[in-house]
């Protein structure tokens, strides 16, 4: 048994070295390769999620909220929404955009800024929701990347 594992370790080591080298060479040579060290900072992640979508910083969003000039859309799952959300926000899970078009249109008609959010900067659902809405001709809805966690961290009100 020990002999088998020992042999396995030697084989495995050689295979991993070969595979890793091949992977590196292939990544350099291929079209569509990715950088070896990627940028996964909050800013870069937001860029990946939201692309060209219009963003709104959390403090600016709060400013509008305080003046009752903002309406929020919570793109998380209903269970998370039920656990707490920005006051007055409407829950539209990202994959259910199509079922809520009229609701969003009504929000836009008020003339207030409509803002979508998810859990935190790592969560793509807010951006996904806005992309889906826009592809159906409903907008503009802004994305607040800092999300629910950012809102809580700043001690802003919630319900």
């Amino acid at each position: 048994m020990i002999q088998r594992i020992r042999q396995g370790v030697v084989y495995a080591f050689c295979m991993v070295v070969a595979a890793v080298s091949l992977g590196a060479v292939f990544n350099i040579a291929r079209p569509g390769g990715i950088p070896f060290i990627g940028d996964w900072s909050p800013k870069a992640v937001t860029q990946t999620h939201a692309g060209d979508l219009e963003l709104i910083a959390i403090d600016e969003a709060f400013g509008l909220f305080a003046k009752e000039n903002a309406l929020f859309v919570d793109a998380r799952e209903p269970g998370d929404f039920a656990g707490g959300h920005i006051p007055g926000s409407v829950n539209i899970p990202a994959e259910k955009a199509a079922e809520h078009l009229e609701e969003v249109r009504a929000m836009l008609k008020t003339g207030k800024t409509v803002i979508a959010y998810c859990y935190d900067v790592h969560c793509p659902l807010g951006a996904d929701l806005v992309k889906d809405l826009m592809s159906r001709g409903v907008g503009p809805v802004k994305v607040m990347p800092e999300g629910w966690l950012g809102w809580m961290d700043r001690g802003y009100p919630y319900e």
Binding site: Q7, V16, A19, I34, D80, D120, H122
Partner: protein, 167 residues
């Protein structure tokens, strides 16, 4: 050798058990080759998946996404062919152990690995439990192959037999 060890040894060496192990080895290998190739095709997408586990520091995410699929393909090929089988089985066992732990850890802290979101409903997703069950069964299969496989229907065994015959 005691009577009991002797009969266990006989079961392990039986043609039936060795055929089962050979089938498990090839199926496991095919799965790893397939999984690896789909990730190699879309490195950016796989990097996003690695990132969504929120376990690795940012600088390790892309390197992992670039290298890991090739290790999977190498281990999978080794198992399908039955070449350096113990090495392939050791790698798949190690990877599956890491995958299972990562999945279980994220399940316990409520991280939905599909989108990388913390969610109270993540643990309610049956798919995550299915992955956990799948990975731990495959881990079991890898260990059986590592410990008990005797080279039935393997390239290594065929080459050895041919060489012996020609001598």
């Amino acid at each position: 050798m005691s009577e009991r060890e002797h009969s266990l040894e006989r079961i392990i060496r039986s043609r039936f058990f060795q055929t089962l192990l050979a089938a498990a080895r090839m199926a496991l290998g095919a799965m790893f080759v397939y999984a690896g190739v789909t990730k190699i095709i879309d490195p950016a997408g796989f990097a996003m998946s690695v990132y969504n586990y929120h376990l690795l520091p940012g600088w390790l995410v892309n390197i992992t996404a670039i290298m890991l699929p090739w290790v999977e393909v190498a281990a999978g090929t080794s198992l399908v062919l039955g070449l350096w089988t113990q090495g392939g089985a050791l790698i798949t066992a190690g990877l599956l152990l890491v995958f299972t732990l990562a999945l279980g850890f994220n399940l316990s802290r409520g991280l939905d690995i599909a989108c990388g979101c913390f969610s109270t409903s993540a643990s309610g997703e049956p798919i995550t439990w299915w992955y956990l069950l799948r990975d731990s069964s495959l881990l079991g299969a890898s260990l059986l192959v590592l410990f008990y496989e005797q080279g039935f229907l393997s390239l290594e065994h065929m080459v050895l037999t041919l060489r012996r015959r020609s001598q």
